[in-house]
Symmetry: none
Subunit: 177 residues, 2 copies
DNA sequence: TAAAATCCCATGCGATCCCATAGATGCCCG
DNA sequence: CGGGCATCTATGGGATCGCATGGGATTTTA
């Protein structure tokens, strides 16, 4: 596995520590991070959501690439640089796979005593569980509008609705060695 | 053959485990999954049905491809990412060909003590047996209407349209809570 | 030196692995 | 042609392992 997938919710303990889901740690390690080493994960406030974005080396390079695409000295680049680099924190992972979130980051995401980790492929987000619930709801509704896209992507391009039984007839001979 | 076909109904045991139909396991292996390895199957709530969609690498690639088409950092991409990646679970298959369904997924499909696996070609769905029964009934009626369109093809194909799921009724013995 | 951050160990629960059983199927050999 | 044996699948249960979490102990910083 080389992408962040799924959601997990972990607690913040009295010292402000949170366990990073084991599945995510695996991805981070593959991305160049060595647990116990001196590297860390990149974390910054999401630009358009009350959440935190985080990832490993690949994410960092992606940001670099994004900025490189904009002309030097443009307003756009300046703003983006500040918005991204300015608030980036490099968090280290302790021996037990936990990180400590600085107050500034916690505030932006409204984190109190638990964190929902949301895998988004090349990066992941950290949400206050309640807020993420709302966001997920909205996202699902919006996706309904893209159903046709999905339908074709998922293969049953013939029709929009999922009509499982309709493919039953296909003489079930298939699954042979 | 390398597609998911037919339907099977298996029980959920006290630990929340369900056997994946052997026929489906064969397809998954061909799709890149190695039993006993570290990969898994991708599973997420169906967008428009009280069921779960699942598949192997090929299905994951489709999702990736869908997102790859959207510009980075666009609202659209973010929403879609959350809905897709965020809801996806990577389930590992144990040595006996079983998976464990997380509570969140079970809830969406209303799964309690049994699961009906429905082959849909390159992916398959998991239904609560009762609900699937209703859905299949409606689907059949619909198919009747389309039969003339399908013509002779439907004739040979529908022959095997017997009731695979019913076999479990006979074989199953202690189908209790 | 006090406060805070980091490291290290203990623990409980859930997830995973492994083995045992049983029904069903298919094959071989009589 | 039929009986019995080997195999495979589904399912249950026990044992084990890993992860998340909590609580000190130790080091670092102001």
């Amino acid at each position: 596995m080389d992408r962040f997938v799924s959601t997990f919710t972990n607690k913040i303990d009295a010292k402000g520590r949170v366990s990073i889901p084991a599945a995510f740690r695996v991805v981070l390690e593959r991305d160049g991070y060595k647990v116990g080493g001196s590297a860390g994960i990149y974390c910054y406030p999401s630009l358009d959501a009350p959440a935190l974005d985080a990832g490993g080396e690949r994410l960092a390079q992606k940001i670099d690439g994004l900025l490189a695409g904009l002309p030097d000295y443009s307003d756009e680049r300046d703003e983006l640089s500040v918005a991204l680099y300015g608030d980036v924190q490099v968090l280290s992972i302790d021996g037990d796979g936990r990180i400590v979130l600085p107050e500034s980051l916690r505030a932006h995401a409204g984190l109190r005593d638990a964190v929902t980790f949301v895998g988004l492929g090349e990066k992941f987000q950290m949400w206050e569980p309640g807020r993420f619930g709302e966001r997920r709801q909205r996202a699902r509704e919006k996706v309904q509008g893209h159903r046709k896209l999905l339908g074709s992507a998922a293969g049953s391009g013939s029709r929009s609705g999922d009509d499982p039984a309709s493919s039953l007839g296909g003489g079930g001979q298939g699954a042979r060695e």
